[in-house]
């Protein structure tokens, strides 16, 4: 039994296609992050799960029960919004129990739930306050509390941290993580922030133009992006994609960047499909953090590159190098001194490299 299952879901607003044939499954207790740039359809998908938007095609199942045409209140879900959406005229207590009262829950049960949740979230001192008298973090907590008291099957979060300042955002992120560890409820969480997605999710679904690009664990998304969009979207700075072609020479496959005079052997690479690799136009992807200043593995590949630019950001520095007229970035500890406009010896960690078809932009 899947807690949430989405089947061939399509949605359009007039002639604009927002979601295309979305298929998604979540197991009990998972924390799924919907990640993507603005306008990719992730919030629409969340609203559809909540029942706040209608569906054009496809179905939504919660606990194997088709809820596609079920009212939001009957879906056993709770949602936390970006603007918190606390009812301004009600105090914290009324805000938190509004849903339970609508559901005609008994007075004792309401009190019991309220006490439990407000203690748990440490808002029990604030119950008589109006939302306007709360700080951003407190509002966030009350909004989560309002969702918690209903004991839903699925929590939906719609960019809940975007309205907070940077420091509070990191704090609340940890709180949400803790909350999920303790409660183990299924969560669907929408964000455009990759750090949030990476740190919170047990699974991440990366979306672009209404299509899920990759749906996997954070580790696999980071290490084995399924196409150039994912490779580019995750990581800061994003993965270097060097244009070039593959060569097959008596079973040994190597990569040559356009205009460069040396070959990078990729024999250890785990190809999905080994056929017709010779002369294939590809992108060679390597993350800035996988370019080293000192050789650390036997398989590391040694190159001499000219340093063009240095960006100091405190604990580390981002260097721009010239690789056969293509810019590539590398990240080093800021203790390393590298001279600009000079050739520097660097090491590519080939175990961390990715290859993408230049035409389809898919991983090969």
């Amino acid at each position: 039994m899947k807690t949430l299952k989405i089947e061939d879901l399509s949605k359009n607003f007039g002639s604009t296609e927002v979601l295309r044939k979305i298929n998604l499954e979540i197991d009990e207790g998972n924390f799924l992050v919907l990640l993507g740039p603005s306008g990719c359809g992730k919030s629409t998908l969340l609203n559809i799960i909540a029942g706040l938007e209608t569906i054009n095609e496809g179905n939504v199942f919660i606990d194997d029960y088709n809820v596609s045409k079920v009212e939001p209140k009957d879906r056993n879900i709770a949602m936390v919004f970006q603007s918190y959406a606390l009812y301004p005229s009600m105090n914290v207590r009324e805000n938190m129990i509004f849903g339970l009262k609508q559901a005609k829950t008994s007075k004792e049960k309401i009190e019991q739930q309220l006490e439990k949740v407000s203690k748990f979230l440490q808002v029990d001192q604030l119950l008589e306050r109006k939302p306007s008298q709360l700080s951003g973090g407190q509002r966030q907590r009350v909004a989560i509390g309002r969702a918690l008291v209903r004991e839903p099957r699925i929590f939906l979060f719609d960019e809940p941290l975007s309205n907070l300042d940077a420091k509070l955002r990191v704090e609340m992120r940890r709180e949400i993580k803790k909350l999920h560890q303790q409660l183990k409820t299924t969560v669907v969480y929408v964000t455009h922030d990759q750090t949030e997605a990476m740190s919170l999710g047990t699974r991440i679904a990366i979306m672009n133009h209404g299509v899920i690009q990759q749906n996997d664990t954070p580790e696999i998304i980071y290490n084995k992006p399924s196409n150039t969009f994912v490779a580019d979207f995750i990581g800061s700075p994003s993965m270097n994609l060097i244009k070039g072609s593959l060569k097959e020479n008596s079973g040994e496959i190597s990569f040559t960047a356009n205009g460069s005079n040396f070959e990078i052997p990729v024999k250890g690479y785990d190809f999905i499909d080994k056929s017709s690799l010779n002369n294939k136009e590809v992108f060679f992807g390597i993350r800035p953090e996988h370019i080293y200043f000192k050789k650390s593995n036997e398989t590391d590949f040694e190159v001499n590159l000219r340093a063009d630019l240095s960006e100091y950001i405190g604990h580390e520095q981002i260097m721009t190098f010239d690789y056969a007229n293509q810019e590539i970035l590398a990240k080093f500890p800021s203790t390393i001194k590298i001279e600009l406009a000079k050739e520097t010896k660097l090491y590519f960690d080939l175990t961390q490299a990715s290859l993408f078809d230049a035409q389809t932009e898919e991983r090969i």
């Binding site: 909540a50 879900i77 949602m79 603007s83 009812y87 509004f98 849903g99 609508q102 939302p131 309002r146």
Partner: protein, 301 residues
């Protein structure tokens, strides 16, 4: 040496700007007082004249102070002289106006709030067209609809009645009240409605429990606006009602214009003040919220 020169020239400049500022300030006060007295002058004349006897009016000037606090003309304006035919006084018409204004303000405000709520929070296909057509109502010259409206009221059997006037004022108030409420609710985050829907609240519950409690500023604006419009209306009142059913503005007109004997300026002035006082009271009581409501932007949670 150089420093001294500099500091003395700064001192001179400082002095100069001080005089300029002082002059501008006095000029500002002068203009403000001038305009204020210009606006307050008619009110002064009205109040003073209403307190004079006819003798004093004939002998004194427009601005001269009354001999004493003489409220006789107020009593006549409100309650009449006590003789039978031809004696027009305001009391019954005042109550007519109250009976017309209260329901008309209530219904137009309530319906406007509802329409504004639907147009912003329950969007439907073609809703912007509905709003556009509603806005037409704000710009239609009311003279244009007098005839069709008279026929409609006749067909409904409520011509020359307070109920008829309530209907007319409600109908022509809705475009304005809708505009007010729509613009207010646009700034209320739609996520509130979404949250309430997930919590299990329906269309009316969301309106009454979530939106209405935060609408106080705009309700005050709408009530003041509608009250002033309807209370001061003469066109609809004089077209769709006569005799007993007329509202106060029509009665005031009849009183002042149709008197056959000597013009009693003191009674006329007292009547005019009585007819104008309710709008003043409403504004004084709610004016603070009026300004706040007009200027308030987004509702922050």
């Amino acid at each position: 040496m150089q420093d001294n020169l500099k500091s003395s020239s700064y001192q001179r400049l400082e002095q100069k700007s001080k005089y300029t500022n002082m002059f501008l300030r006095w000029f500002l006060y002068f203009v403000l007082i001038l305009f204020a007295s210009y606006f307050i002058f008619p009110l002064y004349v009205m109040v003073v004249t209403s307190l004079k006897t006819m003798e004093e009016i004939r002998q004194g000037t427009l601005l001269s102070w009354p001999g004493g606090l003489n409220f006789d003309s107020w009593a006549v304006a409100w309650g009449g002289r006590g003789y039978g035919a031809g004696d027009t006084f305001l009391r019954p018409y005042f109550w007519n106006s109250i009976k017309m204004v209260v329901p008309a303000v209530f219904f137009s405000t309530f319906i406007g709030a509802m329409t504004g709520y639907v147009l912003t929070k329950w969007r439907f296909k073609g809703d912007s067209w509905v709003f556009l057509f509603l806005l037409f109502g704000c710009f239609i010259p009311f003279q244009a609809i007098l005839l069709p409206m008279a026929r409609t009221l006749g067909a409904l059997g409520i011509s020359n009645s307070i109920v008829g006037l309530v209907l007319v004022h409600t109908v022509y108030g809705i475009p304005f009240t809708t505009l007010f409420f729509r613009n207010y609710y646009v700034s209320v985050p739609t996520e509130l409605v979404k949250a309430a829907r997930i919590d299990g609240a329906g269309f009316f519950k969301i309106f009454f429990k979530i939106l209405l409690p935060i609408s106080a500023p705009i309700i005050v604006v709408t009530v003041i606006w509608q009250f002033t419009q309807i209370w001061n209306d003469f066109l609809f009142g004089s077209t769709f009602s006569f005799g007993e059913a007329a509202p106060i503005q029509v009665a005031l007109n009849n009183m002042v214009l149709s008197s056959t004997s000597v013009k009693e300026y003191n009674v006329d002035m007292a009547s005019a003040i009585i007819a104008g006082v309710p709008t003043l009271i409403v504004y004084v009581l709610a004016g603070k919220y009026f300004i706040r409501g007009l200027t308030s932007g987004a509702v922050k949670g």
